[in-house]
Subunit: 204 residues, 2 copies
DNA sequence: CCTACCGATCGGTAGG
DNA sequence: CCTACCGATCGGTAGG
């Protein structure tokens, strides 16, 4: 009989990633000491190293899980509705109506990727490119009349607007997240649909 | 006769801030070693400490100068034109048509402020608030018909879009910076002007 | 006696 | 799971 991994191994690993995520988001990866993370988990430093053999591994696992989850969610958007504008709105919702955990990881993905060695950055950068590509597809669905090279800048304008909400927006404030989603969607679509030659589509 | 500080003292301090800024922007503040900065300057580490008595002082001086310059530039916008939409366009230009140096410092202000001790963060955060306040004033000029608490989120949508250009936009690419300024201005103003009750202004 | 630097090294810290 | 400790690193300093 070979010894098996404890049943709650994955649960504990996730709990560590959550505590570490909160800390990384608040202080930045280099400022967060392994001892701090251990304290935040109510565990010892050695216990941490049982689950993640290096600080980099912890950051990498956290970001990989986050980006893969985000991509899954975006890929699911077309199953929700066929209307391109509603798909766009669903995408905005994904970014704004996130859990605290997801918001933290998003901030970390933006700020702390550069503290990983190049070789570990690459697969994560590829996942980020995939997010951008999927967002671009959604934009093409909304307004197919632009020149191809223009979708990238508009995608980035949108993603910039959405990413920045992590910095300033607090769902506990006056503006409800639904209202913010609606305002961002209206603002962006109004300007984006006005671009390019947009002849009335011919119904078959 | 009292000895005076070398004539080129300020020039050299500026040259150090430029080299350090490039490094901080690329690797992040904690990853940039004083030795690396010295190497980038073609100088010795001791020389660095002659101009900045600590690494934190270097970061602080750089960000203070950058934010004060940015605020000066924004405050000058009303002198360029009276038309609110043209003022808005000038503001967008300030953010997009930046020098490499300014772009680097902007990235650093976003990412690395948290590596300063709290007491040194505070004055810089106040300068950042002033930038947001001034941007809000410009938005109010363009569309004065919104409820007061709504200007903050729209200001942040705009600033998010603008800040993110530091990440993805390369002026050397296909899209010229003027075109990007125009597209961002069109996109934002189209959606922003459609908001709120906007009765036709009565000409006197 | 000053400022502008250099080569060398110390004291403290953090990942593992 | 803890304490003790290492090898390496790095910000900051002292002598000339």
């Amino acid at each position: 009989m070979t010894r098996v991994r404890a049943d709650d191994y994955d649960d504990k690993a996730r709990a560590i990633m959550d505590s570490a995520g909160t800390l990384f988001a608040k202080t930045g990866y280099p400022n967060a000491k392994m001892q701090d993370i251990a304290n935040a988990c109510g565990a010892s430093k050695s216990m941490l190293y049982h689950y993640f053999s290096a600080k980099d591994d912890l950051l990498f696992a956290m970001l990989k899980e986050h980006l893969e989850q985000l991509i899954d969610d975006i890929e699911d958007v077309p199953n929700v509705t066929k209307d391109p504008k509603e798909r766009f709105y669903s995408f905005v919702q994904l970014y704004i109506q996130k859990s605290t955990k997801s918001r933290h990881r998003h901030v970390i993905a933006m700020n702390d990727l550069k503290y990983l060695p190049k070789a570990r950055q690459t697969p994560l950068l590829e996942l980020e490119s995939e997010v951008v590509r999927l967002a671009g597809e959604l934009l093409k669905g909304v307004n197919p009349y632009l020149d191809e090279p223009l979708y990238k800048p508009y995608t980035m304008m949108l993603i910039g607007m959405l990413n920045w909400t992590d910095i300033w927006y607090r769902p506990s404030g006056k503006i409800k997240s639904q209202e913010l989603c609606e305002r961002i969607t209206r603002l962006f679509l109004c300007g984006f649909l006005a671009e390019g030659s947009a002849p009335a589509p011919i119904s078959p």
